[in-house]
Symmetry: C2
Subunit: 391 residues, 2 copies
């Protein structure tokens, strides 16, 4: 087990009707916020009005910035920074999924910085100060509501890049699973792929003696798989929605990273897909992750066999652990397919004409080494091989 | 799933050599502390000197209060309060196990209160303010290093009572598993019983649709059981010690309570045992818990069967879930016995002469209702029956 520091002070307010508490939660921090949200679905659903009512009741002044979209854009972040600076706003309330939250986090660090906020995503600078961010979560997926990271897409070159810093963990996250009952099946399953991927990125590690966190990861994945099927059967199953929503937070709040070093290659390869093709992150992950697994499993057959047995209940083959390992990868792929996710680039309408470009862009995420990943370090050719195998 | 709030801002610094960081951690909060510890084992082990060196290096002034002992006493808490008030100390550093930490927490709330600190344990008042508390953990057991609760024993009548308040969660907890390698086998297994009990108190619930937290609980218990055997086989197994230490924190930091209401009868019954007889809390729990289970399992045979199958790998009897449930209770008892814990009052040298007195004192923990527990509400006669069955 590796030495670690764990410090996650985000306050979670979870359950039915909790959005009505947003005024009270914001009031602990400020009396003027930037209200940041997406493209209007919260207005249709009535959530917007509830938020406004609660803020007004607590005497919170707000300035709105709608328009956050999947794979959130740098230009909107810049707009938010300009508003916060001009209006002297000290707190951002994000209402939405990972896109609105990540966008809010980027505005939060950008407002406290003299230079270009993209510096933080381009490894030119590290944030040292941030405005506070609060969240009302509407889509369980990104885990950004309790995480220390954000991902932004720069339209100039369609670079999708992440930045990790403790100062962006939200002050609070309000999570009402009822709100998620109206998500489409496709939004739901894309979220599920993202949640599964967050756990798997941590699960496939070279850190040894990580028994307890292995088991916590397995428990999380089993709960997600079990409840995914329930939700697709009945989208209004509150309890199954609640399990997935909470699992989505735990999957990415760093509890499951304690004492272990994760991989993150699949995420980085997927960022190239959704950066260029604007596909949902979860759909990109359900294509990339099994392909990555097949490419690297020989590096630690035992770990992949454990994954197969403990997560998918595969019968362990004592004669050939490799058979078990491969069966586990197959089961994951089957699971993704069974809930309606793509498992090949073709299903995302992505051809082979820009694979080289993506592999080249992806490699330079880590400028020094020119490789990505920790479980297995992948160079440009490896990335290309994985993308080709996913066609 | 029940609505819940989860907010745990304790900063965990975990791993080899981390005690050397105590000066830096304290410095974030203060430059003068009350250094509270036990009966000298930290001096023998060399930990004391390391702590002093680190504090001095960071320019931290300290006043010492040694003497914390198992089932920590109100009189020492009072002494600590007097010192903090007189010396104008604003932060307490506890070095030890649950006793030193709970004692420090009680000093922290008592210093900010004009009345008698016992009011908080006697349900006469709720704390509203507390000094900061930091921790260097030496015994994985109580989970107090990241919890919102404390238990103190009042020598006047030997009442052992708890108090729960968010304001006592430690600011930081330094956890080096190396330090725990010199614990005796008996200290180790008493800690393991306490950790298991913290999970089981949460696991046996009437809250429905708690699939994810069920699985997290099961993961924690399996990790503890697996690593308990490794540690007893080799007390210097750093990795197994580390797994148990981290599991002990997670068992009681409220993550496993999210969305569910726990029971806590067994803890309250045990407090009467250790209040009067001064037995180790964990040893009392290994006696009381299986007796409680046997007394209440018919209330929810399915839950006990799930416990048996998922925690102890019992083969599920489709013909008779009750057989499975009972087998699970038997396996828990066997596990406790196999690691050297008592499973009867006799083994603790406790006879039947004060059982009525304990049942009577226990019942009044909850003054209004006169019952304890949530999974099954137990009255005085029930408590007596459980104690008798544990003889």
């Amino acid at each position: 087990m590796e030495n670690f520091t764990f410090h996650n002070p985000t306050r979670i307010v979870f359950g039915k009707g909790t959005e009505d508490k947003v005024g009270t939660e914001v009031k602990r921090h400020t009396s003027k916020v930037l209200l940041h949200y997406g493209t209007g679905s919260i207005i249709k659903s009535g959530l917007y009005q509830k938020v406004i009512d609660s803020l007004s009741k607590s005497g919170i002044e707000y300035i709105e910035l709608p328009g956050a979209m999947p794979n959130p854009r740098l230009s909107l972040v810049q707009e938010g920074i300009d508003i916060c600076k001009k209006e002297k706003i000290g707190f951002i309330l994000a209402v939405g999924g990972g896109s609105a939250i990540d966008s809010a986090k980027a505005i939060a660090v950008g407002t406290c910085y003299e230079g270009n906020v993209w510096d933080f995503f381009d490894q030119k600078a590290q944030p040292v100060e941030a405005l506070g961010v609060g969240v009302i979560l509407t889509i369980p997926a990104a885990g950004s509501e309790m995480s220390n990271s954000m991902v932004i897409t720069n339209e100039d070159g369609w670079f999708k890049r992440g930045c990790t810093t403790e100062i962006v963990r939200p002050k609070f996250a309000i999570m009402n699973p009822e709100i998620t009952c109206t998500l489409s099946d496709y939004q739901t399953v894309c979220g599920i792929a993202d949640i599964m991927a967050h756990v798997m990125e941590r699960y496939f590690t070279n850190s040894t003696n990580v028994d307890f966190t292995d088991r916590l990861c397995e428990a999380t994945m089993r709960a997600v798989i079990h409840n995914a099927l329930l939700v697709l059967n009945n989208p209004h199953d509150y309890n199954a929605r609640a399990e997935i929503m909470w699992a989505g937070t735990i999957a990415h709040n760093d509890l499951l990273s304690c004492g272990r070093i994760g991989d993150w290659s699949s995420h980085q390869i997927e960022h190239e897909l959704s950066g260029i093709y604007d596909v949902p992150h979860g759909a990109g992950l359900s294509v990339v992750f099994p392909a990555w697994m097949k490419y690297v499993y020989r590096h630690d057959v035992t770990r992949f066999a454990q994954f197969a047995v403990r997560v998918f209940g595969v019968d362990y083959s004592f004669a050939s652990p490799e058979v078990t390992a491969l069966e586990g990868i197959g089961r994951l792929k089957q699971f993704f397919k069974s809930i309606g996710l793509p498992v090949s680039l073709k299903e995302l309408d992505i051809q082979d004409d820009r694979l080289e470009e993506m592999a080249q862009k992806c490699k330079i995420v880590n400028k020094q080494e020119g490789t990505i990943g920790n479980f297995v370090k992948l160079n440009q050719q490896d990335i290309l091989n994985i993308l080709k195998s996913a066609l």
